[in-house]
Amino acid sequence: MSVPADLHYTPEHEWVSVEGDVASVGITDYAAQQLGDVVYISLPATGAAVSAGEPCGEVESVKSVSDLYSPVDGEVVEVNAELEDDPSLVNAEPYSSGWMFRVRVAQDSNGDAALPADLLSASDYEELTKSAG
């Protein structure tokens, strides 16, 4: 199971990658393995306002359906349209071609993206998945 060191994570098994004021979001390798083959993803609409910790979509696998949460506050600026045709990208490459949506987040006083304080580091997230078995 891979947990790239340079990403932020949530207890809902999502990852966040920040470039400037845009955060890219997807689900982790661990989540993809637990879900099994992903068959359908409902993503938020471009332009939609999303709030950290609130559901903004759904991930359906063969065996289950789960809510997709936004890990950050902001406005959706792009969604991964390729997942419409090939949701299995989430299983194959959860951290690259399997990304789900991008959010423009507010900036803090330093001009950096203002991220929620409760995002996890890679090592914290790895601990979490280990304790979950």
Binding site: D37, V39, E58, E60, V62, K63, V65, N91
Partner: protein, 347 residues
Amino acid sequence: MTPFAGYLMPLRYTSETAEHLAVRRAAGLFDLSHMGEIAVTGPGAGAALDYALVGNLSGLRTGRARYTMICAEDGGVLDDLVVYRLGESEFLVIANAANTAAVFGALRARAAGHDAEVTDATQDYALIAVQGPEAAGILAPLTGLDLGEIKYYAGSFGEVAGRKAWVARTGYTGEDGFEVFCRPEDAEAIWDALTAGGTGAGLIPAGLAARDTLRLEAGMPLYGNELGPDVTPFEAGLGRVVKFDKPGEFVGREALAARASSGPVKRLTGLIIDSRRIARHGYPVLADGHECGTVTSGAPSPTLGVPIAMAYLEPGAAGLELSVGIRGQAVPARETDLPFYDRRQQR
């Protein structure tokens, strides 16, 4: 891995979709050692099973298998079963893992007064299934049995990979295939031999998730989804397993006879969902916007490429526009005959 009826079972080995398609196109290997095996033996074994189950087991020929059910006095299904007649006075009853204790208890109680002994033999058997169009070709070099002589729903004692086994042409996938019952200590050798012999033909190990989508496509009911104490075999469209003309009494006869003449209160049907979302167990089915039934099983069909489901519908729903309430949204669905997949029509 997932906990399942006291066993730790693989939900999938790699991808359940790949495993499903391997069974349809080549072969899959299943570890089904969790299934319950209950031995019913003695001169009165056939008569005891005739009384305990809804089928005619005394009429089953040695070396043959039958799909049947055990019902409560009120006709509700306690479990669906496959029964093998291993010998003149020896039967092996295969129960769902979660129901083994209940089936064993009921069989033992119902066998009282018959010259028959009921034994829970689950720990004496491992069960490995090889299923798919390549199954016979993969198994044949590993056994001295003439597989051509083993017809569908029949079985024979023999050896597989040099280990003693009961080899039956049965399964739960809608494909040709075999179920190999062996001693637990021989299971690994048989699994390894089938893997080594089958990999070149496209055989891969398959988990519970693929097993569920395979049986769903084949229109086969699953206890806890389509079958349970609140339905009789008639609602599930399986009234044919109830043999009213067999000799003697049987548990549930009166209630089942009443249900057979009055017609089922609901009926099991197939649905094709006009969406990419899955209609899952427990979701409501709507007819012209009103609730008229419940989804019992649903999954994406790897063979058909669309979501499929089985559902119980009220009789009044026939011919109406159907939809499934998927988390608050009415998604159009259309009724279709079961099974969704029939290998004899596909090939």
